[in-house]
Symmetry: C2
Subunit: 291 residues, 2 copies
């Protein structure tokens, strides 16, 4: 199994932490050496003046790729994270989407070339299977940069929007925010990934698929820390510890983290592949033939 996951969002929004929480890994999406820095706050991308090292007047988006083979429940997964540092961090962020769309296209082109070879080896599928788009938890509306990016990307790869650091919002604020986001998506015909439902599925499967789709965007929480499990003090679990309580990353009542893990890894990995191959890649290929 392979999963090529594109992650897009501002510096410090929690991408590294979420990826590490999802896959129980320690990617370091700051300097690509795969080790979580001792102090998660010790970020290499900023200098002492609070200036992002890449931050300038104009957008400067990098594409950084990390691949690792991980084992989940006895299943081996070749996981590639495509990170996009610099997105949304500049003073002028116009066209921040361009380098990212270019990257998706170049991976489609790679596959296209491979398909056209005589002794083709299609095991090396480097196409992007899903894009995790990180939304800031302002609870207001999506910003122009969010809407611009999502409309440029949703016909190119499976879009899975998440509300980052959602622990800052109460359940009520999350509901209102999700309503607004989905309203804005609808108005612009922005399609998020929809777990397909098959005619012979049983009721339970349909219910799961429906719930996964209707809960978008996922209000997620991630953590690099392990804290005492409140319900099992011998145990430690991923969480964030506060004077008023412990946020448990894998607790379904605390956030939509488990829904995201379900969608991305447990239940719909194959569907993500299929839609990429049968719908999005085909769309790209036919557009290319026309032009």
């Amino acid at each position: 199994f392979t999963l090529n996951l594109l992650c897009v969002g501002k510096n410090g929004i929690g991408k590294t932490t979420l990826i590490n929480s999802l896959f129980n890994e320690n990617f370091d999406m700051k300097d690509n050496n795969g080790i979580i820095p001792e102090k998660p706050l010790d970020l290499a991308t900023e200098d002492e003046n609070g200036n992002d090292i890449d931050e300038g007047l104009h957008s400067n988006v990098k594409i950084e790729t990390m691949t690792r083979t991980i084992e989940e429940n006895g299943v081996r997964l070749r996981l590639t994270i495509v990170d996009t540092p610099g997105f949304g961090d500049a003073i002028d962020n116009s066209n921040a989407w361009e380098p990212i769309v270019k990257e998706i296209n170049s991976r489609y082109d790679q596959y296209l070339d491979a398909e056209n070879k005589i002794n083709r080896n299609l095991n090396d599928d480097n196409r992007i299977h899903a894009c995790l788009y990180f939304i800031e938890p302002t609870a207001h509306w999506l910003k122009p940069i969010d809407l611009e990016f999502c409309s440029m990307i949703h016909e190119k790869c499976n879009l899975i929007p998440v509300i980052a650091k959602s622990d800052i919002l109460t359940d009520e604020e999350i509901l209102i925010f999700k309503e607004r986001i989905n309203k804005q998506f609808l108005e612009r015909n922005i399609q998020t990934f929809k777990p397909p439902v098959y005619r012979l599925d049983d009721k339970e499967t349909i219910d799961v698929a429906t719930k996964l789709y209707e809960s978008l965007p996922y209000a997620v929480v991630g953590s690099n820390d392990f804290v005492k499990d409140p319900s099992n003090p011998e145990h430690t679990i991923r969480g964030r510890e506060y004077p008023w309580g412990i946020i448990e990353v894998e607790n379904e009542n605390h956030s939509d983290f488990m829904l995201l893990r379900d969608l991305l890894i447990e239940q719909y990995l194959e569907e993500l592949h299929e839609r990429t191959n049968n719908v999005l890649y085909e769309h790209y290929r036919s557009e290319k033939l026309v032009n």
Copy 2:
């Protein structure tokens, strides 16, 4: 007693909520009619596209003033909030500080003119007694806009920096963030308000003053909501309710909110007046005479 309080920070950073929590009021710093909107999320300053109504390429900072007489523990306080919508919200935020410094200066000029009149009435003191500067809880470093503003303002009025929505950070992250902020302030000689210590003060008073100063910037939390008091279910208290616990605004273990209230209202209101009059205003006046 009067308190003229300048509030500076990005839209949605929590200024309205904090002011209402501090003074048990319901200012609406969005449209100046003093009523909390039914849905605190129903902000008038953004349209459906997530565009701040004032947001454009260039900075567009407004100065909005609200005055109210409130009663705290039998003491009447004439409270004036000077809000600065638009600060930090544009795509290009250079010189966002200018309209704000102009406002402080014009209030000093007002007082100067009044002093020079024959039948002067100095009861109308409209000078700014303190500036609450709201820092985003990124846990990284202060941004260029933060440093620029604080260095332009600290010699003009008493600077009290706060870390907004600090509930997003663990205690450990708050400590690290405060260290970095104070380091950056030190490097630039930015002075924050320091509760004065007098020769005849008793140990307890000195300890309080020291603690108040050393805890800057205050990591605060505010709330418009009232929730069941966990330690007294008959009671309601200001708080934010989550599946994992309740953040109590007035709980000293949950944030530095009570320290801020102490500094601003309970203990050092007179000192804020005195420093404004004896140090900052004098500084302004002598600069003006020189020029």
